[in-house]
C-alpha cells in the first residue's frame, strides 16, 4: 500500500524552479532512497513533506489523506543541517524536543532512558550539549528524531559525522525501525548505503524525477551484460587468440603471471567459456551489475547533456 503520494508537486523560487511536477509514490514499510546531485530539489521536497514550506501546486497525500497539521506528529525528521541548543542539558533538551512532538513528559522520559541505554550514552543525560563530541550529538539527534515513534521517518544524510562502528549501529537501528513498520525516506549521497538499505529510489535532477523504481529492477535495467572471467593458462598468446575472435571483449593481466582477466559484454558467454576451458582452467566467473554510483553519474550526466 502506498504511504506517501507526491502528486505533480511544483515549487518555484524567485529565480529557479526547485520542483517541477514531481510525482513519487512511496510504499509502506520500506526504505525509500531520495537521490540527486546538490541543488536538485531534494531538500525542498523534504521540507514540503515536513510542512516547513508549501508547494505552489500539486498535492501530498499521507495514507490517502491530504497532508495537514496533524501529520506533524507522524513524521520524524533528521535534517542534514542539524544542531542542538549548546547551553542546554542533553536530557532536558531531548525531553523538550519530544514534548514539541506531542509526547507527555513522563512518557518521553521513559522512552529516552531506553534509547540512551541502547546507544550507550546514559551517562550524558546531565551534560551540556557543548561538552559532547560531534558523534555523540548525532546520536542524541537521532534519538530525538525517532522518540515519538512516528510511522514516517525522513533522514537527510544520516551517516555524516559517524565513525564506522556508530554508522553500523545507526544502520541497524534504521533497519529495525523499518521492520517495526515505519516508512523511511532516506536522502543521501552515500551510494553504498543506498545499495545496502534502500528498497526503492527516485533520482532527482533539476527538480525533475529522472529515474524511479526498485533498486534491483533499476540495476537490471542498466545491466550492460558485463561478465567477468578469470582464466588460468600459462600461454597468454593462446588466451589472446581466443579473445581476438570477439569484438566485445577486454583483456587484462592480473597480479598473477598465469591468470588473465577477460571482461565480456554479451548475454551469452557460454561459447567463450567453452573455448577457454579447452586452453586452460576457469578460476572465476561473475555477472557484474552496475553500481548505483555508476547509474547515478550516467543518468545525471545524460540528462544534463540532453537539456
Amino acid at each position: 500500500m502506498t504511504k506517501i503520494t507526491i502528486h505533480e508537486v511544483t515549487k518555484k523560487y524567485a529565480d529557479h524552479t526547485a520542483l517541477d511536477r514531481m510525482c513519487i509514490d512511496i510504499p509502506e514499510h520500506c526504505i525509500y532512497g531520495l537521490l540527486g546531485p546538490n541543488g536538485a530539489g531534494k531538500t525542498t521536497l523534504i521540507r514540503i513533506l515536513n510542512q516547513i514550506t508549501a508547494p505552489d501546486s500539486g498535492q501530498v497525500l499521507i495514507d490517502g489523506e491530504a497532508l495537514c497539521q496533524k501529520h506533524i506528529t507522524h513524521i520524524g525528521y533528521l535534517p542534514e543541517e542539524r544542531g542542538l541548543y549548546k547551553k542546554m542539558k542533553v536530557g532536558e533538551q531531548a525531553i523538550y524536543l519530544a514534548e514539541l512532538k506531542g509526547i507527555k513528559k513522563a512518557e518521553a522520559q521513559k522512552r529516552l532512558k531506553e534509547w540512551f541505554d541502547k546507544f550507550e550514552i546514559s551517562g550524558w543525560w546531565d551534560k551540556k550539549v557543548e561538552e559532547l563530541s560531534k558523534g555523540m550529538q548525532q546520536k542524541v539527534q537521532f534519538i530525538t528524531t525517532v522518540i515519538h515513534e512516528p510511522d514516517i521517518l525522513i533522514f537527510d544524510e544520516p551517516f555524516s559525522g559517524f565513525d564506522p562502528i556508530n554508522a553500523n549501529l545507526l544502520k541497524e537501528a534504521i533497519l529495525n525501525l523499518r521492520d517495526k513498520g515505519a516508512t523511511i525516506l532516506l536522502s543521501t549521497h552515500n551510494m553504498a548505503s543506498v545499495e545496502e538499505l534502500c528498497d526503492s529510489i527516485t533520482l532527482i535532477n533539476n527538480g525533475k524525477s529522472i529515474l524511479q523504481g526498485r533498486v534491483n529492477d533499476i540495476k537490471r535495467q542498466h545491466d550492460t551484460h558485463q561478465r567477468e572471467l578469470i582464466v588460468r593458462c600459462d600461454d597468454f598468446n593462446k588466451v589472446m587468440s581466443v579473445a581476438d575472435t570477439y569484438n566485445n571483449i577486454k583483456v587484462e593481466h592480473t597480479d598473477l603471471p598465469d591468470e588473465t582477466k577477460l571482461t565480456l559484454f554479451s548475454e551469452s558467454p557460454n561459447e567463450l567459456i567453452g573455448r577457454l576451458l579447452e586452453i586452460g582452467q576457469l578460476v572465476s566467473f561473475k555477472e557484474v551489475l552496475p553500481s548505483m554510483n555508476d547509474i547515478f553519474i550516467q543518468e545525471v550526466q545524460s540528462q544534463n547533456q540532453a537539456s
Binding site: I72, I75, R82, T145
Partner: protein, 437 residues
C-alpha cells in the same frame, strides 16, 4: 500543554537560570540605589576632612566675613607676609592660602588662592561669593544705601503652576518632577526595548547558526516559534523589572536603616542633599509640605497603567522586528548592519524626548507620540504632564495595529530567513519573501 506554551517555558527558564540574569538583577538596583546612596556617602565622608585655609587679607575688608563651614576652616593670619604663609602651605600646615591685596572700591579685586592640590569647586565658589557680597555692600554704603534695606528688599517669588480642565478644576503641577519622571520613564522603555529586543535577535540568530532551527520547525510552525520566543523574553523582562523594583525597595529601606542607626544626625541632612541632587533643587524652597503636594499631584495609577501598556506594546512591536532581523543573520557581525533600520527610530525617539519634555503639548510631541515606532518612548515622556485620554487611546490602538501588521511581515521574513544560509541578502530580495506561499 500546547506547543507555544512549551516554547515560552523554555525561553523563559533558560534565560532566567543564566548567570547573567542573576547579575543584572542585582546590578540594576545597586545602580539605581547608587543614585540615592552615593551623594549621602559623599556627604558623610567629606565632613571628616576639613580644609584649613589661611587668610592674608591686606584690605582688611573680609577678615570677619569668612565663616567656618563643614568643609573648611578659615584661619586669619593678620600682618603675616604672604610668602611665609605660602611656605606653610608647602609644609602642609594649611591646605591652601587666600591672599587678598589692598583693595579700592573702583578697582576690580584680585584675590589669589595658593594651593598644592586642586582647589575644590565649592571652596572657590564660596570664597568668591563672600567677597562679591562684601564688595557689593561696601559699594552700596559708599553710595549711601543701607545694606539692611538691601537685604530687606530681596524677594523670593514662588511661582505656582496650575493646570485647569474644562470643568474648572485646578491642580497644581510641579514641572521639574514631571520633567525628571518623563525622561526617566522614556529611558526605561528605551533601555528595555534595546536590551530585550536584542536578546530576541540573538536568540533567533543562535537557533539559526546552531542549525537546530530545522529540527524545531518540523515540529512547530515558525510563527509559533517566533512568538514563543518574543513572549518568553517579554516575561523575562517583566520578571527582571519586578525584581528590580522589589530589590531597590529592599536596598533603600536597608540603607536608610543603616544610616538611621549609625549616623542619626545625618539622615535628614543626607536625604535632603540626595533629593536636591537627584531632583534638581526642587526641594530647596519649601520642603516638607511640597513633598506631599508633589506626591498628590502625580497620578501614579495612570502612569503605571500607561507604562505597562506602552512598554509591552512597544516591546512586542520591536521584538518581532528584531526576530525578523535575527533570522537574516548568518553571523553576528551582520546583525549590526541589519538592525540599524530599527535602532534609528528608537534613537530619534530618545533624542526628541529632550525637546518633548520641555513642551509636551507641542505638535511635534503629539505627532511623535502617535507614530507607532516612536510612541512607546515619546508618549511616556508626556504621560507625567497629563495627556488627553483620547490621545493615549488612539496612540495605543495605532501601536497595537502596527504590531499586528509588523508581526505578519516579520513572520514572513522570519520563515524564509531562518533557512537561508550563505547568501548575500538584499532588501529587494527580502521584499520578495513576503509573497512566498
Amino acid at each position: 500543554m500546547n506547543k507555544i506554551g512549551l516554547i515560552i517555558k523554555r525561553e523563559y527558564l533558560t534565560r532566567v537560570r543564566k548567570r547573567s540574569f542573576l547579575i543584572m538583577t542585582f546590578l540594576g538596583p545597586i545602580l539605581m540605589a547608587a543614585i540615592y546612596i552615593i551623594p549621602i556617602m559623599l556627604a558623610l565622608n567629606s565632613s571628616n576632612e576639613k580644609m584649613r585655609i589661611a587668610v592674608v587679607d591686606e584690605s582688611h575688608w573680609f577678615e570677619d566675613r569668612f565663616n567656618d563651614t563643614q568643609e573648611h576652616t578659615f584661619v586669619l593670619m593678620p600682618g603675616q607676609p604672604i610668602d611665609s604663609v605660602k611656605e606653610m602651605v608647602k609644609t602642609g600646615i594649611f591646605d591652601m592660602a587666600l591672599y587678598v591685596p589692598p583693595t579700592q572700591l573702583n578697582i576690580p579685586s584680585n584675590a589669589v588662592v595658593y594651593s598644592i592640590r586642586q582647589v575644590p569647586m565649592e571652596v572657590e565658589t564660596y570664597i568668591s561669593n563672600v567677597m562679591e557680597k562684601e564688595i557689593e555692600d561696601q559699594k552700596l554704603m559708599a553710595n549711601g544705601v543701607d545694606p539692611e534695606i538691601v537685604s530687606a528688599v530681596k524677594t523670593n517669588v514662588n511661582l505656582q503652576i496650575m493646570r485647569m480642565d474644562e470643568k474648572g478644576n485646578e491642580k497644581e503641577t510641579f514641572t521639574k518632577v514631571q520633567f525628571t519622571l518623563g525622561i526617566f520613564l522614556a529611558m526605561l522603555v528605551y533601555m528595555f526595548i534595546i536590551f530585550f529586543g536584542g536578546q530576541v535577535m540573538q536568540g533567533v540568530a543562535e537557533e539559526k547558526t546552531n542549525r537546530i532551527i530545522e529540527v524545531i520547525i518540523s515540529s512547530v510552525k515558525p510563527f509559533q516559534l517566533m512568538m514563543g520566543k518574543v513572549i518568553g523574553v517579554s516575561l523575562v523582562a517583566l520578571t527582571q523589572f519586578v525584581l528590580w523594583i522589589l530589590l531597590t525597595g529592599v536596598f533603600y529601606v536597608g540603607f536608610s536603616a543603616y544610616i538611621g542607626i549609625s549616623h542619626p544626625d545625618m539622615l535628614s541632612q543626607g536625604t535632603v542633599m540626595a533629593q536636591e541632587i537627584s531632583n534638581n533643587d526642587i526641594m530647596s524652597n519649601e520642603s516638607v509640605q511640597s513633598i506631599v503636594q508633589i506626591a498628590q499631584s502625580i497620578d501614579f495609577g495612570t502612569i503605571i497603567t500607561c507604562f505597562l501598556v506602552f512598554f509591552i506594546l512597544g516591546y512586542l512591536l520591536y521584538a518581532t522586528l528584531y526576530a525578523a532581523i535575527g533570522s537574516l543573520v548568518d553571523n553576528n557581525t551582520d546583525s549590526q548592519q541589519f538592525s540599524l533600520p530599527i535602532t534609528v527610530p528608537l534613537i530619534i525617539a530618545i533624542i526628541s524626548s529632550f525637546y518633548i519634555v520641555n513642551n509636551p503639548d507641542s505638535s511635534l510631541a503629539v505627532w511623535f507620540s502617535m507614530i507607532p515606532f516612536t510612541s512607546p518612548i515619546s508618549m511616556m515622556v508626556r504621560i507625567p504632564f497629563g495627556v488627553p485620554i483620547w490621545q493615549v487611546v488612539v496612540s495605543a490602538v495605532i501601536l497595537a495595529g502596527t504590531f499586528v501588521l509588523m508581526t505578519w511581515i516579520a513572520a514572513k521574513i522570519y520563515r524564509t530567513g531562518i533557512l537561508m544560509y550563505g547568501k548575500k541578502l538584499s532588501y529587494k530580495e527580502i521584499f520578495k519573501w513576503l509573497k512566498y506561499k
